[in-house]
Structures are given as structure tokens and as C-alpha cells.
């Protein structure tokens, strides 16, 4: 359980985290979303005592992280930037980390095995690829068999097999009753992995809800309909909103596929297509954060050209 109350962080005049409250509960995977610079990594660093909050507090299992007697057993953390000495081997990195808590070689070898690093464990970290470094970071986070896992963009740089492995791993860990908080910019991945989502934007919490609710909140599901008489169908569904898609089909929101079908039957409208379309987490996320993006790309090269 991670609990933040009025948590704030300012760097000089820049407010990175702006008085946020949230709770990350055990037994589920909580996804941490937000545009670049939203304050996700800063929040994670504050949870593990690396950055000191300007105001407010955050506790892990009821205690400030700095007061934990066995930090590695409480929280395993993977930070966004590589946090290991490039001149040391993966094995010695893990061995040194483990030694602080009296955790032995056996566990070090176990996490090396688990993360698939056996063949490179004795090599210096400086020569590691992005994905290998990421695996080593995950291995380090798992060292203390922690009750809480905080993973900042864990799948960044991983191959598809690695992405799938992380998804299974965090689901499994949450299933064991652990607390899991992970950030990612990959929405499809997040929607498959997380049960609950916290969305940050400019240091504030924009949404904090189960994944389904987040998706439903952004207009929810729509129904795609093709009919020669859209006007009649629209009249038969006075409660629903509808718009015409670029291929001529009708997009109906505010009504289920069943309601649309029944309305069509009642008014004798012929339907050529009736498809429920689930809205995606990505769409919901975009809708939530469109006003909160600080670092917006300049559009396509052509568009940039035109504005000159």
C-alpha cells in the first residue's frame, strides 16, 4: 500500500508534482499514466526517498520509506534512468545491493536466472544493451522479494518476449497480494496489464479509477452502423448522439448495439452493419490529457513546413 497526501515537489520555480493525493492498493496492478513531464518519475523517486517532497508526505505500508528497517524487502524499484555503475558486472551489482540486507548469493543467482541474464551476468554493465540494462534493473527490484514494486517504464527497450514476460510477472506478483505501481507510455500494454489507472497531468491527478471506468468515462463504447436511411434511424434513437464517419458509416454513442438493433426493427430501417466498438484506453487517455500536454510535437513534417 502506497499512500500520498498533498504530495508536492518543486524544483526551483518549476512545480513537478502539485499537491497530489492517491492510494496504490495491494493485490492489483496500478498503472501510472501521463504525458512527458507530468511528474510520474518524480513521484516515484519521492516514494523511495530519493527526492524530498517540498510539501506533503508519502508512506509505504504506513511508514515513510526512510524509516523502513528493510527497504529492499518493502519496495523494489526500477527507476527511469539506469541506476548502476557501468564498470561493474551485473552479478557484482546485484551482490552488493543484496549484501546491504544480508541477502545471499543464492537469491542473486535466482533473479539473474529469472530475468534471463545468466549469459551476461559476469560482463560489465557498460556494455549492456538498453533491454539488458532494463532486465538488470528489474532483477535488482526483485532482489528483496518485495511486498511493493515500483517500476518506471519497465518495458522501455524490451523485446516483445520481454514485454510479455513483464506483463505476466507483474500480474503474477499482484496476484500474490503485492502492491504494483508501474508507468508506461504504451497504452495497449497498459490496458492489458493494469487493473487501475492513475493519470497525472502537469503534476496533478487527472483521473484515478479502474481501467473500465476510465475508458467508459471518455464517452464509453460506440456502435458502428451502416444503413441506407440514417435519418430514420437517428429519429428512432432520440437519446443517442451520432456522427457520420469518413467511410459513410454512422457512429452512435449513448446507446448499446442491442438498443440500436431494436430501434431499427421497430422503425423498419434496414441495417447493413451493426458493430459495437469498444473505445480504447488510448482514446480515453488522449481525451483526458489533451489540455495537459506540455511538450507537444510540431505535427507532421509537411504541416510544419506549411506553417513557416
Amino acid at each position: 500500500m502506497i499512500e500520498a497526501t498533498a504530495l508536492s515537489k518543486r524544483y526551483g520555480s518549476r512545480t513537478a508534482v502539485d499537491g497530489i493525493d492517491f492510494t496504490v492498493r495491494p493485490g492489483i496492478v496500478t498503472g501510472f499514466l501521463g504525458p512527458n513531464g507530468a511528474g510520474k518519475s518524480t513521484t516515484m523517486r519521492m516514494i523511495v526517498g530519493l527526492d524530498r517532497p517540498t510539501a506533503g508526505a508519502v508512506t509505504v505500508n504506513g511508514k515513510a520509506y526512510r524509516e523502513q528497517r528493510a527497504p529492499l524487502r518493502e519496495v523494489g524499484v526500477l527507476l527511469d534512468a539506469k541506476a548502476m555503475h557501468t564498470g561493474r558486472s551485473a552479478y557484482h551489482h546485484l551482490l552488493a545491493m543484496a549484501a546491504t540486507h544480508g541477502i545471499g548469493k543464492q537469491r542473486v543467482n535466482e533473479v539473474i536466472e529469472l530475468t534471463g541474464l545468466s549469459s551476461v551476468a559476469r560482463k560489465r554493465v557498460g556494455g549492456f544493451s538498453l533491454g539488458m540494462g532494463q532486465r538488470l534493473g528489474i532483477a535488482a527490484a526483485l532482489l528483496g522479494d518485495p511486498a511493493t514494486l515500483i517500476l518506471d517504464e519497465p518495458v522501455n527497450g524490451l523485446d516483445p518476449e520481454g514485454v510479455q514476460w513483464v506483463r505476466k510477472l507483474v500480474r503474477h506478483l499482484a496476484g500474490e497480494g503485492r502492491t504494483v505501481l508501474l508507468s508506461s507510455h504504451l497504452m495497449s500494454e497498459m490496458s492489458q496489464t493494469a487493473d487501475h489507472i492513475i493519470v497525472l497531468g502537469r503534476g496533478r491527478v487527472l483521473a484515478d479509477a479502474p481501467v473500465d471506468e476510465i475508458i467508459a468515462g471518455a464517452g464509453g463504447a460506440t456502435v458502428r452502423v451502416r444503413t441506407p436511411r440514417p435519418d430514420l434511424l437517428a429519429a428512432a434513437l432520440p437519446e443517442a448522439q451520432h456522427s457520420t464517419l469518413s467511410d459513410g458509416a454512422l457512429s452512435v454513442s449513448g446507446a448499446t448495439a442491442e438498443q440500436v438493433g431494436e430501434a431499427a426493427a421497430r422503425s423498419g430501417v434496414v441495417l447493413h452493419e451493426l458493430t459495437p466498438v469498444a473505445s480504447s484506453l488510448e482514446e480515453a487517455y488522449m481525451a483526458l490529457t489533451q489540455d495537459e500536454i506540455e511538450y507537444r510535437a510540431g505535427g507532421t513534417p509537411a504541416a510544419v513546413e506549411e506553417t513557416r
Binding site: 526517498g49 557484482h92 544480508g102 541477502i103 532482489l143 510477472l169
Partner: protein, 288 residues
């Protein structure tokens, strides 16, 4: 595919001793440690050898005639052979002290270290223990090695003394000084967090400022009173056997003040302590 582990004992937790052990693993698992160690050994023994080879020129009077060595001269020549290397060793030891922490900042390792040990000060203490013990042992091995390397040549010129308690105490001083300089570098490195800045400051304190003071003391009165309290002068005093006979100096010239070895050890330790305390305050207060 489970991460649940029977190999992590339920009561695994932080202790100071374990943090020291962790720092020992970190220190001994980097190549740079062996480079600096090798450089110190080679420099120290090499200088002892060079000095010993040419030591017969020391035993020449002002008139160019060989003079009969006495015991005081034998002791002085032998100890010069044993301890001169320390002045190069100290620079490398200070650099190693700086690198022990600056390397963690430049690579990001510091975040892993401080996440595992959120109290933070234990990390610095662990590093201090490891750096001191390593440098102390290295200083002891180097000065003994220097003696052994120099002995055959000094002996052939009748300029060697056997190792008595005075000589051993001076060697102990050399070893302790190497450890203290390592601590000084560690403290400065923790304070400034960068290798370049840390090395610049330690080299300034150990070499540049003493040289500048030496030059300034020609013009400005009172500077020569500060000089003995500089880190490098105190280090020099720690490995010097105090002489009870006044050196014969031309009239009008004063012998430079050399602190008694125990006082010098206190002064040098104070330099390291101040650097470490400043480093500790910075480490404790800053975001990592």
C-alpha cells in the same frame, strides 16, 4: 516463473556491518580500484629504488669528498627511501577517494545505493571504512616494500638501518596518512559529486595551495606559521622521525616548524573529518 522466494529470509534487513560489506563488494569489483592501487605501489617502490640506487651521492660532504656515515644519517637516508613515494601516493589515494563516490553519481548508481540504504549516512560511513582500510594497508605494504627494495643498495653503501620502533612508527604514520588522504578525497567527492571538481579541489589542497603558500611566505609574514597545519605538511610530519638534535643551519635561518607526529596525525584527521562532515551534510540534505 515465480518471484516469490525461499532464498530471501523473512528477517533480512539493513545493518551497518552489512552496508560496509556491500561497500567492500562495490570497491573491489571495479577495475579502477586495481589501477589506482597498482599505480600507488609502482610509484612508491619505484621512487624508493631510484633513490636507493643513487644514495651514495648523499654521502658526500660539501667538499665533494665521501663522508663517513653516522647513525643519524643512515636513519635519515633509509626513511627518505621509504617515505618519499607517499607524496605521489597521496595524490592517487585522494583521487581514488573522490572516484569512490563520484563514480556513483556519474553513472546513476547512487540512486540504487540510496534506495537500498535510505538513511544515506551508512553508505558514506561504509565507503569511509573501506577506503581507509584499503589505503592504510596499501600504505603499510608500500612502505615495507619500499624498505625491502631499497635495502640491498642502501646496505651496499652502508646507509641502511634495521627497522626499529622509530622506523616502524614512521611507516605506520605513512600508512595512516594514505588512509586519511583517501578519506579527505571521499569527503570532497561527496560534497561536489563530480570527479573533475573533486580531483581539482584535492590536488589544490595537497599541492597547489602548499606551493603557493611557500612562495607567499617569502613576502608575507606569518604564512610560515600556517604551513605546518596544511594537510600535506601534517602528512609529512606523521612519517618523519622527530630529531632531538637541532639541525645545523646557517645563522639567521630558522628551521621550518614540523609538528610532532601525534599532533600531525590529529591535524590531518581533522582535515579528513571536516571534508567528511561537509560531504555527509550534503548527502543527507540533497535530492539524489
Amino acid at each position: 516463473m515465480t518471484a516469490t522466494s525461499a532464498t530471501v529470509r523473512q528477517d533480512a534487513h539493513l545493518t551497518l556491518g552489512r552496508v560496509v560489506r556491500s561497500e567492500w563488494i562495490k570497491f573491489t569489483s571495479l577495475r579502477s580500484t586495481y589501477w589506482t592501487t597498482g599505480i600507488i605501489l609502482v610509484l612508491w617502490l619505484g621512487i624508493a629504488l631510484l633513490f636507493a640506487l643513487t644514495a651514495n651521492f648523499t654521502a658526500v660532504g660539501p667538499d665533494g669528498q665521501p663522508i663517513e656515515p653516522n647513525d643519524e644519517m643512515r636513519q635519515s637516508v633509509t626513511m627518505t627511501a621509504v617515505t618519499t613515494g607517499a607524496f605521489f601516493g597521496m595524490l592517487v589515494a585522494a583521487i581514488q577517494g573522490v572516484l569512490t563516490i563520484s563514480g556513483e553519481y556519474s553513472t546513476g548508481m547512487i540512486r540504487s545505493s540510496l534506495a537500498a540504504v535510505p538513511g544515506r549516512l551508512a553508505v558514506l560511513l561504509g565507503k569511509a571504512v573501506v577506503v581507509f582500510v584499503w589505503m592504510f594497508l596499501l600504505g603499510a605494504v608500500s612502505s615495507l616494500g619500499a624498505y625491502l627494495v631499497a635495502l640491498p643498495f642502501l646496505g651496499s653503501y652502508d646507509l641502511a638501518v634495521p627497522l626499529g620502533s622509530e622506523e616502524l612508527l614512521a611507516m605506520l604514520g605513512a600508512a595512516a596518512y594514505l588512509g586519511i588522504v583517501g578519506l579527505f578525497g571521499l569527503g570532497i567527492g561527496t560534497l561536489v559529486r563530480s570527479a573533475a571538481g573533486g580531483i581539482a579541489i584535492t590536488v589544490a589542497v595537497l599541492m597547489v595551495i602548499p606551493m603557493a603558500l611557500g612562495v607567499l611566505s617569502i613576502w608575507i609574514d606569518g604564512i610560515e606559521d600556517i604551513v605546518p597545519y596544511m594537510l600535506d605538511s601534517a602528512g609529512n610530519a606523521m612519517m618523519t622521525i622527530p630529531s632531538d638534535t637541532e639541525a645545523a643551519l646557517p645563522p639567521g635561518m630558522e628551521a621550518p616548524t614540523v609538528l610532532a607526529p601525534p599532533v600531525a596525525a590529529l591535524v590531518a584527521s581533522a582535515w579528513a573529518a571536516v571534508a567528511l562532515v561537509l560531504g555527509a551534510l550534503a548527502l543527507k540534505g540533497r535530492d539524489a
